[in-house]
């Protein structure tokens, strides 16, 4: 009990009177985390956009005029039972025309030129199950579909899907790379900040050791300080980022981080603070040696 109280007191004494340097350290850690958090927010939002983009990937089956609506719907049922197909939506000739006008108003004069006699072809819009966006699987499926009775052209974005997939892949690689760089640099920054501030107080560690403090008593206040610094710093960083995110919301609509990521960032802060003071203490705690000390 007394030991625990003494430890907490040591921790407080370590902090006392160093307000400006504590603030500086916290600011530093917070700002590091602002950078990291901003990166996470951007990553999260890009992911969301890409996910919805990939969900839109699908196959468009144009039907021949010979197929009436009834057989078309029967065909839709057949297709929707196939592997990799999530849902099938029937677009009649009339709906196709309405869609075309809505999507491309500047080309709608084309339809006027066609007159009432000619309609756009009806189609089945096939959406895919997750994981079926790969070029290979789609084109196989499209081949199968095109061999079905009453099916004309089968279109599946062969001109933009490879590009999209390449961009998604590159972004994921970039993201992992940048994330690794950031986690590493945040950890190093927090660790070095702690290291510098521990080594400023190596005299305290030395004298406490001389007075018979156990290893644990020497380390605990600094480790506790490191954890607190890392945690508070990452919390401060999250707060700053949240405020900036809210201010930005009007200009660029986006989501803030989900709760799980926020907890992860707080944990990362505490862990890096802990590691930092641990590394700092390694050089600050003197041990008796048989060889002379190098200073």
């Amino acid at each position: 009990m007394n030991e625990l109280r003494a430890l907490l007191r040591e921790t407080l004494l370590n902090l006392r009177g160093r307000n400006s340097s504590i603030l500086a350290t916290l600011l530093m850690v917070s700002l590091s985390f602002v950078v990291f958090d901003t990166f996470l927010v951007i990553t999260w939002n890009i992911r969301e956009i890409l996910r919805s983009e990939q969900e839109n990937v699908g196959i468009e089956m144009f039907l021949t005029d010979s197929l009436d609506e009834r057989s078309a719907r029967a065909l839709a049922d057949v297709v929707s039972g196939m592997d990799g197909v999530r849902s099938v939506y029937f677009v009649s000739s009339a709906e196709a025309e309405a869609l075309f006008r809505a999507e491309m108003p500047e080309r709608s004069d084309l339809l006027d030129l066609l007159g009432d006699g000619y309609g756009l072809p009806a189609s089945l819009q096939v959406s895919l199950q997750p994981g079926w966006e790969s070029e290979e699987r789609i084109s196989t499926l499209a081949g199968t579909l095109s061999r079905l009775e009453g099916v004309g052209d089968v279109v599946w974005g062969e001109d933009y899907l490879p590009g999209l997939n390449r961009v998604v892949g590159a972004l994921q690689k970039l993201d992992i790379f940048a994330g690794a760089v950031l986690v590493l640099s945040i950890s190093l920054m927090v660790a070095n900040t702690m290291r510098l501030s521990v080594s400023r107080r190596s005299l305290t560690v030395e004298i406490l050791g001389i007075c018979g403090a156990s290893d644990w008593f020497l380390r605990a206040p600094f480790l506790l300080e490191g954890i607190l610094t890392g945690f508070t710093g990452s919390a401060g960083g999250l707060l700053l980022t949240a405020v900036a995110s809210a201010l930005m919301q009007a200009g660029v609509g986006h989501d803030f981080l989900p709760g799980r990521w926020v907890s992860g960032v707080l944990l990362l802060g505490a862990v890096t603070g802990f590691i930092g003071s641990w590394i700092g203490l390694r050089s600050a705690i003197p041990r008796p040696r048989r060889q002379e000390r190098k200073t």
């Binding site: 009177g17 005299l203 406490l208 001389i210 007075c211 018979g212 290893d215 008796p288």
Partner: protein, 228 residues
Amino acid sequence: MSDALVKFTGVARSYSDWPAVEGIDFEVRSGEFVVLSGPSGAGKTTILRLVWMGDLPTAGRVEVCGCSSDRLRPGDVAGTRRRIGIVFQDFRLLPDRTVFDNVALPLIVSGSSPAQVRKRVFSLLAEMELSHRRASFPHELSGGEQQRVAVARALVAHPEIVLADEPTGNLDPESSRLVVDLLLGIVRGGTAVMMATHDPRQVPPESARFLFLERGRLVNPAEWPEAR
């Protein structure tokens, strides 16, 4: 194991092959006052450092309070130091703590209750004529006052051995007598004291055992030019 608190057996400590001390054999028992004397650079501080395990011998064995330099287990060093009080030649006070906090360190480190700490520290500061300075920081003290704080810190936890390295080096004759009397008092209480000094005349010859060092070796008092 003998009942000696401190036992040196053929101890040497070299720095880059140059021996600071060599072939040292001696014992210290409870209630003994041992005065280590010798010229500057003779090895007095080195021997004290070996006792409090600030250093390990390069040859021979140092045993302190039942703990041997041969086989140190984790925690041994801290445990031994709690049974030792040390006054350093350069004081080693914590610059960012008050006199009270500095003196209280050994008690706090070993887990005494705040009430115990307060009682013991106040009474010791009074004895050392430092009460009025208890809220000062070391840099606000004169050299002699710092030295008295260092002595108080060494005595506060009722140690079994007190090591004192020139505890009177910065003191006027009157304060020096105060410190020596204090050390003699605790020796009478059964505590062992090892004091390094370049001026052995400060200690009454009948109440102490004198060890003379020269160039890292213990010499016969008869060979010591300034020995009384």
